[in-house]
């Protein structure tokens, strides 16, 4: 039962993160939303891996790998956001997709 609670929390976190990603233009908040989606997925996986007799170690290892990868991606994304603000003062993406 507890596992279901965690899995549902994970699913809701994914939903919340997707909302944030689509609805919030500020780039730092989008990075936060990415992290919410990732950790929600990991929570779901962790709950699924804890269903058996013993807790499955493989999902735990996958999740640790995933957390580190998410940190790497967040760091690069944050760096890009800061560099963009430094060059042009923007904290959201300009609307047009094409460079001139």
């Amino acid at each position: 039962m507890s596992l279901t609670v965690f899995a549902m929390t994970g699913a809701s976190l994914v939903g919340l993160g997707i909302y944030g990603l689509l609805a919030l233009p500020q780039l730092l908040r989008r990075i936060i939303s990415f992290n919410l989606i990732g950790s929600g997925l990991f929570l779901f996986l962790g709950a699924a891996g804890a269903r058996g007799e013993a807790v499955d170690a493989v999902p735990q290892a996958l999740i640790i790998t995933g957390i580190v990868v998410a940190l790497a991606a967040s760091a690069l994304a944050v760096g890009l956001v800061v560099a963009l603000a430094r060059r042009s003062g923007l904290v959201v993406l300009p609307d047009e997709a094409n460079p001139r």
């Binding site: 999902p59 790998t65 460079p99």
Partner: protein, 489 residues
């Protein structure tokens, strides 16, 4: 097996060495790592050719515990194509990314990033483990985004950020599918998954993974990030990004739909994938037609050319996989992946030479450039022949195979797409060709080393040779092909 290990490990080891060693050692180390890896790629392809797929259990652990790597014919072909492209890009970058031209920052960062990107590509080509593929894709995306940002302008940063957002969203969608697969089956190995007992969540998992990979492959309507990103990067980086990076996520799509979960491939889903591909061919072509910068034309052409590869899904997937035309369609799509890689890399390297020669890639500024740089103009023309799909190029073989399969399958609308896409390519490539080969030169031309000019020419020639000598790659691609159907065409 040793060749496979070298192909996987040497680019990564080269990148580590380039980072650790003093800056002056970077170029020799990177070039020798590139040469050795390219040699091993050829050895690997030869051993696949002779002995069938090469398999490697990392650490000696069998799946589901360990990770299996396998180089089948398709992976070997992509590894060789990538080695050729990276080799050419490294040669061009030797001139173009020199510290005197590109600045110390870009000159430091380009080499390790190129090698990391290559290592990630090779890792993705051979991996049979869905989570390992996720890690490989992330490495690929981060290196690719960094290569876009290397130019340092605000415009490049915007393009890199947009790319990053799409790449991250794609990764997470893919990861969601991986999570569902592991929760349902307790394994991530593609081979074990094909023999699994189906679970209700499988369709959802496949859908999520497909959506994520489409975003990474820049299929319409997820293509908006690609042209600005590929056009903002320095030309050698653009060549890598456009020729190679989308092929990795496309290959995973092939692995999922043809090997891991072929029974889930419903006709409607396959038609939708190909339909999006068809729209991409037309829409990418139309947008390429209205651009005024060479790099943007070439980048939009990537959107269009990637679309052709998706015609493989209804022609060779699902129920169609047992049909006589499946082999032709499958091979045609893979030929498209290979020949587009070679030709597109050549075009971006040409763009780099143009920028070095006249300081701009606007069509108006390129007028008459072929008079001063005939090798470069000829290279662009050869690459254009492949992208238009004219005989005897590799692009022609690809489109011929796809078209005959489409007629044999009775799915003639795809043939219209192939024909229309070829006409559009001719139209959008005519403008830069006409500008290059016009008589009146506009701007003074800085001299460009002949060796540098020879690099894209060699790549473009290879793309044409792929069509002339299509028998060998054709046979290589059949090795380890899922469900080898009756050879019909």
């Amino acid at each position: 097996m040793t060749a496979l290990v070298i192909v996987l490990a040497l680019p990564l080891a080269g990148a580590l060495a380039v980072i650790a060693l003093p800056v002056r050692a970077a170029v020799p180390v990177a070039l020798s790592a590139t040469a050795l890896t390219a040699l091993s790629a050829l050895v690997l392809a030869a051993s696949v050719w002779q002995g069938g797929p090469v398999t490697l259990m990392v650490g000696g652990w069998q799946p589901p515990l360990g990770i299996a790597l396998q180089a089948d014919g398709l992976a070997a072909a992509l590894i060789v194509m990538s080695a050729l492209v990276v080799g050419a890009v490294a040669m061009a970058a030797w001139f173009e990314m020199a510290a005197a031209r590109a600045g110390p920052r870009a000159a430091f960062g380009f080499w390790p990033l190129m090698l990391l990107l290559w290592g990630a590509l090779n890792a993705v080509y051979v991996s049979r483990d869905l989570f390992n593929l996720y890690v490989g894709l992330e490495l690929l995306s981060l290196a690719a985004v960094a290569l876009v940002a290397i130019s340092g302008t605000a415009q490049a940063l915007v393009a890199a950020l947009r790319y990053m957002i799409f790449a991250l969203a794609g990764s997470l969608l893919y990861l969601a599918g991986v999570v569902l697969v592991y929760a349902g089956h307790g394994t991530l190995d593609i081979g074990l998954l094909s023999a699994r007992s189906p679970a209700p969540g499988d369709a959802l998992a496949l859908g999520l993974m497909t959506a994520g990979l489409l975003a990474k492959t820049a299929l319409f309507p997820f293509h908006v990030w690609l042209p600005p990103a590929h056009a903002s990067a320095p030309a050698p980086a653009s060549a890598l990004l456009s020729a190679l990076v989308p092929k990795a996520s496309f290959l995973i799509l092939i692995r999922l739909w043809f090997e891991a979960m072929p029974e889930l491939a419903s006709t409607a889903a396959l038609l939708m994938l190909a339909g999006l591909g068809a729209i991409a061919v037309i829409w990418g072509g139309v947008l390429a037609l209205v651009q005024s910068r060479l790099k943007l034309i070439v980048a939009y052409s990537t959107v269009a050319q990637l679309g052709y590869m998706f015609l493989v899904f209804p022609l060779a997937g699902g129920d169609g996989s047992a049909q006589p035309w499946a082999a032709g369609a499958w091979t045609g799509a893979m030929f498209q992946a290979l020949s587009h890689g070679l030709a597109k890399a050549a075009m971006f390297l040409v763009a780099g030479i143009c920028i070095a020669a006249v300081g701009s890639d606007r069509l108006g500024d390129l007028r008459g450039l072929a008079r001063a740089l005939p090798m470069t103009g000829f290279a662009f023309a050869l690459a254009a022949i492949t992208l238009m799909g004219l005989p005897p190029s590799g692009g022609f073989t690809a489109k011929y195979l796809l078209m005959t399969s489409a007629f044999a399958a009775g799915q003639w609308p795809w043939a219209l797409v192939l024909a229309g896409g070829g006409l559009l390519a001719a139209a959008y490539l005519y403008r830069p060709l006409a500008a290059l080969f016009t008589r009146d030169a506009r701007l003074p031309v800085h001299p460009v080393a002949r060796a540098w000019q020879g690099v894209p020419l060699a790549l473009a020639a290879l793309a044409v040779l792929l069509g002339l000598l299509s028998a060998a790659p054709f046979d290589l691609l059949q090795i380890g092909r899922p469900e080898p159907a009756v050879e019909g065409l």
